[in-house]
Amino acid sequence: YVLQGAKWDKTDLTWSLVNQSMADADKIRTMVSRALRVWETNSKLTFREVYSDQADIQVLFARRDHGDGYKFDGPGQVLAHAFYPGVGRGGDAHFDAEETWEFDASNDDSRGTNFLNVALHELGHSLGLGHSSDSNAVMFPWYQNNEVDGKLPDDDRIGIQELYGAKEKVWGPYRPVTTTSTTTTTTMRTLTYYPQQRPTYPNHYPNYYPNYYPRERDREREREQERERERERERERERERERERERERQRKRQHEERERERERERERQRDRERERERNREPLTTTSTTRAPTTRSTTAATRRTPATHPTHRPYNYPTVHRHNKPHKPRKPKPDNCMTSYDAISMIRRELFIFRGQFLWRIGAKGLYNGYPTETRRHWAALPEDFNKVDAVYENQQRQIVFFIGRQYYVFDSVTLAPGYPQPLTSLGLPPTLTHVDAAFVWGYNNRTYLTSGTLYWRIDDNTGKVELDYPRDMSFWAGVGYNIDAAFQYTNGKTYFFKNLGYWEFNDALIKVAHARPKLSSRRWMQCARSVNDVDEEQR
């Protein structure tokens, strides 16, 4: 057996079937319960079914690309996959909806793939077990239609008990012992012991096994079915309570949303007031008026990184700009104590973006008077943008900004015709809310976009993401998920940023050059080391 390292820090786990509306939902839930009961019987773990996206283990049926970077391949070969314990999608088990699943536990493969077996295997991953090379083990990578109910092969049982310990044995007056059967092969009868109930049977036979005497077994099975019905009723009541809580949360969210909308309206009202004030007062400060730019005639013909329609594909409101200085609505960020929303080399100078501001760092270090508002340089950016998600300079030396679900392409400081456009025009999924980082990887000079746990590569010929993407961010070993920014520096190396730190990426080893992130402010903003900073180099 293999313990993959990650494990749950608790033993009472919840699980939820995502596709409640699918045809065999009830059978699937029964089978998942049975598979979990096998792990439960052989460890300290307990499982409770809920219907919530907060459950530890989400059971999902999906097909092909289902957004986790590990596409299914249709009928055959890959049947399912699961994620080791952890937050977010950690613990989740995904099954290929295009497989022919047999939901009645049967040994006959001609009717389809035995779902119970596959569920037992995948839920082993959800609990922290890796693949085993023991071909009798449940965790053997290749599908086997073995009878599993209740019993667990030693390899798996020892593995799960190493992770979560064995069930406490509640010793009643009857001490079960291991016996060796008299058949030709001496086999150790594994203890199928039900600690939650003390054996109650007429003959008080000292080494009794509840499922050993047929008559007693029938009575036991009726009691068990009654208990199962009671548990089912309890689960139904729990689901009803959960649905009520969900409705309550929904009402609360709507109320908060209305509150925020009213606040925004009041804010806009105040802005208009201030604007009217400004227009009345004489202009005392020297306003920086932009040098008039001649729209380069080739701009329209120059290739843009995505489809470049001559018309505006989307009826975005044409924005009228004033040359008036904008009073920033938010305080300027402290360049020695901030994370970066975006970072990029532009015209061989380093631009770092935070909120509505940017810093500009040239050969002689940080320019004076920075940070300044980003819209002083790129006035065509929306007035009410909160922050820049990502920036990079494309192969045509245009500057591409990603803000929310849209992106803007600039020829220097002039917005190229036809922009902004939605992320979907790059071939990104409509569900994507934003891009975290955009960079050209020095190793192969290709353009990459990242978001959350996934990344895409741009096909420079079509300007769209390549077909066999997205992939999982774990490729960039050591960087992790949900990064803030990334870029290629003048030294050809690629750097990834998250919170106050950054990693240099080692292209040859395809992993970060140092496991611990270094302090961004010191390297990129030339901030002096504060007394309690440890010098990374000396470390």
Binding site: Q4, Y70, L79, H125, P141, W142, Y443
Partner: protein, 95 residues
Amino acid sequence: RSNERSSVSEDMMYNYLMQFDYLPKSDLETGALRTEEQLIDAISKLQEFGNIPVTGKIDSATAKLIQLPRCGVGDNKHAYNFSPDNLDHGPRKRR
């Protein structure tokens, strides 16, 4: 037998080995070519894990194995025992 083997191209074998962690997934991005020895080593590991005769070649047993239905999770992180000047894919040395 021969048609099983012929139905499995080296490309398919290569992709299978990357998909299930017998070769570094980074090859997907870098297209880093592997030496014959590295490929043989990866195939041998797969054969060992799959409990079939270890030959290091794409023989009929291997061709059959890689077409069997299975779990999509990788077969845990083997220490890719490439020579030091090549890519080192894990702190662990080969067991």
